[in-house]
C-alpha cells in the first residue's frame, strides 16, 4: 500500500521566508553563548560516577600483598569466558604469605571478550577483583587486548581493606589456640 504524504499548504510567515531565517538565527545565537555540552576528549575526561563498571582489575591489600587466592570462581561465573587462571602454590617459607598457600600463577582477562558485567567482582570471596574507573582499552593486536597478571595489578593498584584476612590468620597462628 503506497502511503500518501499530505502536503500542507505553507502559511503566510513561511511564504515570507525571512521570519523563518531569523528564527533559525536565534537558535544559533543562543548556542553560541550557552555552556558547552561536549568536551575535548581525550585531553579532558568525564568524572566517573561511583559504582561505575570499568575494566576489571586485580587489587592488592594495603600491605602490598596479593589478595587473589585463585579460587577460580570468577573464571567459573564469567559469562563470556574472558577470565583464565592457572592456580599455583605459594611456598610456606615466604614470611609475608604465611597461611596463604595458594595464589594465581597466571591470570588473564581477555578484554575482547569481557562484557563489563561485574559478576567477577560480585562473586570474589577475597575482594580481590574490582571493576574500576578505567573505561578505555585499545590495542593494535588481539594479544595486546589480553590483560595478564602484571597488567591487572598495575591497573588495579591498592584499595582500602577492612578485613586483613591474612594478618588475622598470622595472628591466630602466633597467638591462637596453637597445638
Amino acid at each position: 500500500m503506497p502511503y500518501v504524504v499530505e502536503r500542507k499548504p505553507l502559511t503566510l510567515s513561511e511564504r515570507l521566508y525571512f521570519p523563518q531565517i531569523l528564527a533559525g538565527m536565534r537558535v544559533t545565537l543562543r548556542h553560541l553563548f550557552a555552556k558547552n555540552v561536549t568536551m575535548e576528549y581525550p585531553e579532558q575526561r568525564p568524572a566517573i560516577p561511583a559504582g561505575y563498571r570499568g575494566v576489571p582489575t586485580l587489587v592488592m591489600d594495603p600491605n602490598g600483598r596479593e589478595k587473589c587466592v585463585s579460587c577460580q570462581l570468577c573464571e567459573f561465573v564469567c559469562p563470556p569466558k574472558a577470565i583464565r587462571i592457572t592456580p599455583g602454590e605459594i611456598p610456606a617459607d615466604q614470611p609475608d604469605h604465611a597461611h596463604v598457600e595458594k595464589g594465581p600463577k597466571t591470570f588473564d582477562i581477555d578484554m575482547l571478550r569481557c562484557i563489563y558485567c561485574g559478576l567477577c567482582q560480585e562473586v570474589c570471596p577475597e575482594e580481590a577483583i574490582f571493576l574500576q574507573n578505567q573505561y578505555s582499552m585499545t590495542g593494535y593486536t588481539r594479544a595486546e587486548m589480553v590483560n595478564d597478571k602484571a597488567k591487572l595489578y598495575e591497573l588495579g593498584g591498592t584499595l582500602p581493606d577492612a578485613h586483613f584476612k591474612w594478618d588475622k590468620k598470622k595472628t591466630a597462628a602466633e597467638h591462637g589456640n596453637a597445638h
Binding site: C71, Q72, H99, E101, K102, A172, A173, N177, A178, H179
Partner: protein, 566 residues
C-alpha cells in the same frame, strides 16, 4: 559393612512412608531407597560403622506391646498399633531395620540436632573454601548449606593446626579441616590392611597422624582422599591444580590389570587432571589403586608417538598405509595382538589375521597380585581376546614361536599392535631380519626398529570395552581428544584390514558392534550403547578349563588352585 541382602524382609516406616528392606539394613541405606537423604560424615557403605560424627541423628520409634502379655497395644484413634517414640534421638548409621521400625528424619528435634552438630563441626573449621581442593565436592560444605543454621555465633579464636603435613608420598593432610570422622583410619585398617593412621591427643587437640616411623604409602593411600568428607586429606598430585566444578567426568576402566576397576576420568578442555574410582559393587566397590590414578600422565609423556613414520621419517597416514600394503603383498606376515587392546580392536586384529591367513600371538604380562584390586594378570583384556576368538589358548610371556619362525626365515614382516617385541623376548638381531609394522602410543625399542609406525591412542582418548577377570564386559568412554595427527585406533585397524584384502569393515562403534554381534557368539546381544554402566557378565564356561594366572582379588575367587602358574 552392610550385610548381604537376606531374604527375610521387614517393613520399616520412614517419614510416614513404608518400605520393605532386608532385616538389619542400615537406616541410612533404607532411607536412600526411598529417596530420603540422612546426612552423614563418618558413615561409609563399605566401612564399619563408627558413629562418631552424630550428623545422622534421627527419631526412632518401635511398635508398642504390652510388657506382660506381649500383645500389641492398639491406638483407638487410628486403629493401628501404637508407636512408642524414644525421647532422645538415635544415630541412623547405628540403627538397623527391625520389624515395624518407625523413623522420623525431618522432625523439629532432628533438624535442631543437625544444626547443632553442624555448628559444632564448624567451630574449628577454617572455612578456607576458596583455596580448598574439596570445595564443590565437600560434604561439610553441602550439609552446612542444607542443614546448617546459616550464620555463625562463634566469636572466640579458632584452633590452629598444621596446614600441610605430608602423611605419605601422595597424601597431604590439612589438619585444621579434619572433622575427625575416622573414615581414613577405618579404610587403612579394614580395606588396605595397612593400619598406619590414628588419632592422637584429646578434645580439640585431636590430630590425625601416622604411626611413628611409618608413612601412608600403600598402593591404596589415595582412597583415603576420596572418602575424606572434607578437604583434610588431599592428593598431593591434584593439590591446587584445578577446581572440581570445571572437570568433565567420563566413565573409564583402569587398564592396569585384569580386575578392571571402574574409574571416573576427570578432564577440562582436553587436559586430564585426575582419575578417581567409580562405584561398582561387583568389581571394585568404591576403591582403586594409586598406580592406576597416575596413568593419565602417560598421555602427555615426551616419548608419545605423534605422527606415522616410515623408517623413522615422519609421513602421512596414506603413505604409511601404502608401504604396509606392499609389505602385505610380499607375504609371510606375522601378527602380534595385545591383551591391552579393547574388544573392538581385538576383533579388528582378528579380521586382519583372517585376511592375511595367519594366527595371532599375544604377550602375557604377569605381576604380583595384591589380593585387592591389582591382579597377577596385568593385561586388562586377555579375556576379550578369547571371547572375540583372537586366540584360543592363553598367551605366553615370551614370543618364542615367533622368534623361531624369524630365525627360520618363515616370517618377513611382523605387525605388532601395541606390544614391544624386544620386551617380549625378540632380540635386536631378530628384529633387524624382518620388517616391523608397529602400532603404538609411545616410542620404545620396537618402534625405533620398525619400518612403519602408526601412532595410536591411549585408553583415555578412545572408547571401547574390556573383559575383566570375571568375564564381565565393561565399557569406557573417550575422555579427551587424541593428538592432531593420530587417527582412531579402529580407523587405523580397519584400514589395515582393507589393505590386507579383508574388505571394508565399519570403524564407527555402533556399526562395528553390529558386525561383532553378528560374528562373535558370546557377544550376540551386546552393543556398546546397551552395555550397563556396571558391565555385563558373560558366560565364562567355554574357557573354564584354561589355567588363568590369577589370584584372589576383592570380588573374584579363582576357580582352580589359587595362584596357578602359567
Amino acid at each position: 559393612m552392610i550385610s548381604a541382602p537376606k531374604p527375610d524382609l521387614v517393613t520399616v516406616n520412614i517419614d510416614g512412608r513404608e518400605i520393605a528392606v532386608p532385616k538389619g539394613t542400615n537406616v541410612i541405606e533404607a532411607a536412600k531407597l526411598l529417596g530420603v537423604e540422612i546426612p552423614h560424615y563418618c558413615y561409609h557403605p563399605k566401612l564399619t560403622v563408627a558413629g562418631n560424627c552424630r550428623m545422622c541423628l534421627i527419631e526412632m520409634g518401635l511398635p508398642a506391646v504390652d510388657p506382660a502379655t506381649k500383645a500389641p497395644i492398639m491406638d483407638p484413634a487410628t486403629g493401628k498399633q501404637r508407636v512408642n517414640w524414644m525421647p532422645r534421638p538415635q544415630i541412623g548409621c547405628g540403627t538397623n531395620a527391625s520389624p515395624g521400625l518407625h523413623i522420623r528424619t525431618n522432625s523439629p528435634l532432628v533438624k535442631d540436632c543437625r544444626e547443632g552438630v553442624t555448628e559444632m563441626l564448624l567451630i574449628n573449621h577454617p572455612l578456607d573454601c576458596p583455596i580448598c581442593d574439596q570445595a564443590g565436592e565437600c560434604m561439610l560444605q553441602e550439609h552446612s548449606t542444607a542443614y546448617g543454621r546459616g550464620y555463625s555465633r562463634f566469636v572466640e579464636q579458632k584452633n590452629v593446626k598444621p596446614k600441610k603435613t605430608e602423611l605419605g608420598p601422595r597424601v597431604t593432610l590439612d589438619d585444621e579441616r579434619c572433622i575427625l570422622c575416622s573414615r581414613c583410619i577405618r579404610f587403612s585398617k579394614e580395606i588396605a590392611k595397612d593400619d598406619v593412621l590414628g588419632f592422637i591427643d584429646r578434645g580439640s587437640y585431636s590430630t590425625l597422624t601416622c604411626y611413628p616411623g611409618r608413612k601412608l604409602e600403600n598402593n591404596y593411600s589415595l582412597n583415603t582422599v576420596d572418602i575424606c568428607p572434607v578437604g583434610a586429606l588431599t592428593s598431593t598430585d591434584f593439590r591446587f591444580k584445578m577446581r572440581v566444578w570445571f572437570l568433565k567426568e567420563t566413565p573409564g576402566i583402569d587398564p592396569e590389570s585384569s580386575v578392571g576397576a571402574n574409574t571416573t576420568v576427570s578432564s577440562r578442555e582436553g587436559v586430564l587432571y585426575r582419575i578417581t574410582p567409580r562405584r561398582n559393587d561387583e568389581v571394585n566397590d568404591t576403591w582403586m589403586t594409586d598406580s592406576g590414578r597416575a596413568l593419565y600422565k602417560s598421555v602427555k609423556a615426551g616419548n608419545r608417538l605423534l605422527t606415522p613414520t616410515i623408517n623413522g621419517a615422519a609421513t602421512g597416514a596414506d603413505m604409511a598405509l601404502k608401504a604396509v600394503r606392499d609389505l602385505f603383498t610380499a607375504g609371510s606376515v606375522a601378527v602380534v595382538g595385545s591383551g591391552r587392546s579393547s574388544v573392538e580392536e581385538q576383533f579388528l586384529t582378528r579380521k586382519l589375521a583372517d585376511a592375511l591367513k595367519v594366527s595371532v600371538s599375544l604377550v602375557s604380562r604377569v605381576g604380583e597380585g595384591d589380593q585387592l584390586l591389582l591382579s597377577a594378570d596385568r593385561n586388562p583384556n586377555v579375556r576379550g581376546a578369547l571371547v572375540t576368538g583372537l586366540i584360543s589358548a592363553l598367551p605366553a610371556r615370551k614370543l618364542t614361536a615367533l622368534a623361531a619362525d624369524i630365525d627360520a626365515g618363515k616370517v618377513k614382516t611382523v605387525l605388532t599392535v601395541g606390544e614391544d617385541l624386544t620386551a617380549a623376548g625378540l632380540s635386536a638381531a631378530q628384529l633387524a631380519k624382518v620388517s616391523v609394522i608397529y602400532l603404538g602410543t609411545h616410542s620404545n625399542a620396537t618402534s625405533e626398529a620398525a619400518k612403519v609406525v602408526f601412532p595410536t591412542l591411549t585408553v583415555f582418548e578412545k572408547s571401547g570395552t574390556f573383559v575383566n577377570q570375571q568375564f564381565r564386559i565393561q565399557k569406557f568412554a573417550k575422555a579427551v581428544p587424541g593428538p592432531a595427527d593420530v587417527s582412531d585406533d579402529l580407523i587405523t585397524l580397519a584400514e589395515l584390514v582393507a589393505a590386507a584384502g579383508g574388505g571394508i569393515i565399519p570403524f564407527e562403534l555402533g556399526a562395528l558392534w553390529a558386525a561383532i554381534a553378528a560374528e562373535v557368539k558370546p557377544l550376540a546381544t551386546v552393543t556398546y550403547a546397551n552395555l550397563p554402566a556396571t558391565g555385563l557378565l558373560l558366560d565364562a564356561t567355554p574357557w573354564a578349563a584354561l589355567p588363568f594366572i590369577e589370584g584372589e582379588t576383592l570380588h573374584y575367587q579363582p576357580a582352580g588352585p589359587a595362584g596357578a602358574t602359567a
